[in-house]
Amino acid sequence: MPGWKLSSPNIPSVIQRYGLAVLSVAIALGIGLLLERSHFHDVEFPLFLLAIVVTVWYAGVGPGILAVVLSSLAFDFFFTEPIYSLYVSRSELPYYVVFILFALLLTWFSAVRRRAERDLLQSRDELEQEVAIRTQQASLLNLTHDTIFVRDMSDVITYWNRGAQELYGWTAVEAIGKRSHDLLRTVFPAPLDDIAADLLRTGRWEGELEKTKSDGTRVVVASRWSLQRNDQRIPIAILETNNDITERKRGEEEVRKLNQELGKRTIDLEAINKELEAFAYSISHDLRAPLRHMVGFTELLQKNASSVVDEKGRRYMSTILESAKRMGTLIDDLLAFSRIGRAEARESVVNLEELVKEVQSEVAQEAEGRNITWKLTPLPDLYGDRSMLKLALVNLLSNAIKFTRPRPQPEIEVGCAEKQNDRIVMFVRDNGVGFDMKYANKLFGVFQRLHRAEEFEGTGIGLATVQRIIRRHGGEVWAEGFVDKGATFFFSVPSQRR
C-alpha cells in the first residue's frame, strides 16, 4: 500500500504491534481487577472488548486475534468460576463462546473499517499528488510562449495555454469547448482523413497549417500533433503545438521569387553569351574571307598589272594591302580579347618570377638591336590562370618595349609593390614616353589609343585585354605616368585560391 506508506512514514514494527496487543489486554485486565476489588462487577467484559478494538485499530488483525486469545484466557482465568483456573464450567461455556464470537466479530469489523479508511486515505493522497503535478504542468505550459492546446477526439478544445491566447487572440475561457478547426479555420496541406490516419498510426503528425486569428489575419504555423491514449490504448486527446512561421514563409517566398528571377536572368545571360559567341564565330569565319580576297586580288593585280599602273596606282595598291593586313590583326586581337571572357580559367599556383622571365625572353625579340636595361626583382607566387597571366604580362612588357623606343637608354622594371596576406600588387615600370594622367581612364578601353598610329603601332586592345584578365582574377589594374617621364602599370591579384 504505497499511498499509505507515503502518508504514514512511522510503520510500527511487528514487536510494537504485538506488544500493543499484550499491553492493551494487560491494562484492561489490570483495570478490571482493580475495579473488581472496589466491588464493581461485570466491567471486565467491555474492558477486554475495548482493548481488542484498540489493538485491531492501531495494530491490525494479527495482534487483534492475539488480543482476543489473551483476553479470552485472562477472562477465563480471573473472572469466570472457578477463578484462577483455565477450566470453563459447562454453565459458563455459552457466555464464554459469545464473548469470543463477539470479540472476533468486532475484530473483523474494525479490520474492514480500518482497511477502507486506509484505502480512502491512499486515494486522497494520490489524488492530491496528481492534482499537484497537473497544476504544476499546467502552469509550466502556461509559462511557455509556444502555442499549445489540447483537443479531444471530436476536435473540441479542452486546454488552451497562454501562448495560444497570445497567438490567436482568444482566451482559454473563449476557446475551450469550441471545435479547433472551426475556431481557427484551419487549412490543411492534405486531406484531414489522411492526416488523422497518419496520426493514429504513428501517434504524431507534423506539418504546416494555415490558421486564422481572432482579428481575421491569416498565419502560417508549423504544427506538431501528439496523440494521447488512455490505459486501454484508446486515443483520447490530441496535443497540438503551433509555431508562427508566417514571417519565415514570407522570407522564403521572397527568396524563391528572387531565385526564380535570378534563374531567368542567368538564362537570359546565357542566351546573350551564346549570341556573342555566335557573333565572334561569324567574325572569325566571315570577315576573314573578304579580307583574303582583298589581299589576294590586290596582289594578283600587283603581279599582273604593275607595268600598266603608274607610281600612284602602285601606292594605292600597297595601301589597300596594308589596311587589309591591319584589319586582319584587329580581328585576331578582338577575337583573343573576347575569348578571355569565354574561356574557362584553369587556376593553379603560378611561379611569377619564372613567368616574367619567360615572357621577357619572348618579347625581347621585339627589342632587337636595342640595349634595354631590365630590372627584375624577386617575385612571390600567386594563384591564377597561368596562360592568361602570361598574356597580360606579354601585353604589359611589349608595351614597355614599344613606348621606350625613342629612349637611348631604355629601362624596364618588373617588381612587387605590395604583398599582403590575400593579395599581391605587381608593377611594370618604364622610362618611355609616358602619358598624360588626365587620359588615365581611357588607357584600358577597347580601341582606345593615346598615340597616333605613325608614332606607335597598335590596335588599342592590349591594355583592355590586361584589364579583362586581371578582373577575371578578382584584381584591379591602374596606371601612373607623366608625359615623357615614363609610365608604371600596377595590377593586383589574389595570392591565394579565392
Binding site: H285, R288, A289, H293
Partner: protein
C-alpha cells in the same frame, strides 16, 4: 611523269576557288581539280548522283573541304563520308577560315586527316594551297581505287 591524284574541292566561295585554282595552276594541277560548291553537290559527286551520274569511276585522291557550306555543311559531309565503308579511306582535309577550337575538335573527332586554317595573308594562302595540292595529289600515296593520271 608521276601519277597525279584528283582533288575534290568543296568550296562555296568562287573567289577562294579562283585564288586556289590560280595557285594550283603553277604546278599544272588545275585540270585535276573538281569543284563542288556545296555539301550536297560534293556528296552527289562521291555517290555518282545528280549531275555526276555519268562521271568516270574512281575516287578523288583527296577532298579539300570547307566547313561553312550551303545546304549540307562541311561537318555533315565529313560525318557522312567517314561513316561510309567505301568512302572513309579517301583523305579529307578541312580547309576553313575558322580558327575556332570547337570546329577543330569536331573535325578531328569525325576523323579528318588534316585541318588547315586558310591564311589571311594571300602569300601564305597561296603557299598553303600549293603545298596541300603537291602533298595530297603527288607525294602522298592515295588509297586504292583513286583516279590517277600520268
Amino acid at each position: 611523269m608521276e601519277l597525279l591524284g584528283r582533288i575534290l574541292m568543296v568550296e562555296d566561295d568562287p573567289k577562294d576557288v579562283e585564288l586556289a585554282l590560280n595557285a594550283l595552276g603553277e604546278y599544272n594541277l588545275t585540270n585535276e581539280v573538281i569543284v563542288t560548291s556545296d555539301g550536297e553537290e560534293a556528296l552527289d559527286y562521291l555517290y555518282h548522283r545528280g549531275k555526276f551520274q555519268t562521271r568516270t569511276n574512281g575516287n578523288p585522291a583527296v577532298r579539300l573541304l570547307d566547313l561553312k557550306l550551303p545546304k549540307v555543311d562541311g561537318l555533315e559531309v565529313l560525318q557522312q563520308v567517314k561513316s561510309d565503308e567505301k568512302l572513309r579511306m579517301i583523305p579529307v582535309v578541312v580547309l576553313t577560315s575558322s580558327r575556332e577550337e570547337r570546329d577543330m575538335v569536331a573535325s578531328y573527332k569525325l576523323g579528318v586527316n588534316a585541318y588547315v586554317v586558310k591564311p589571311v595573308d594571300f602569300h601564305e594562302f597561296v603557299n598553303a594551297i600549293k603545298e596541300l595540292g603537291v602533298f595530297w595529289a603527288i607525294i602522298n600515296e592515295a588509297p586504292p581505287g583513286s583516279i590517277k593520271r600520268k
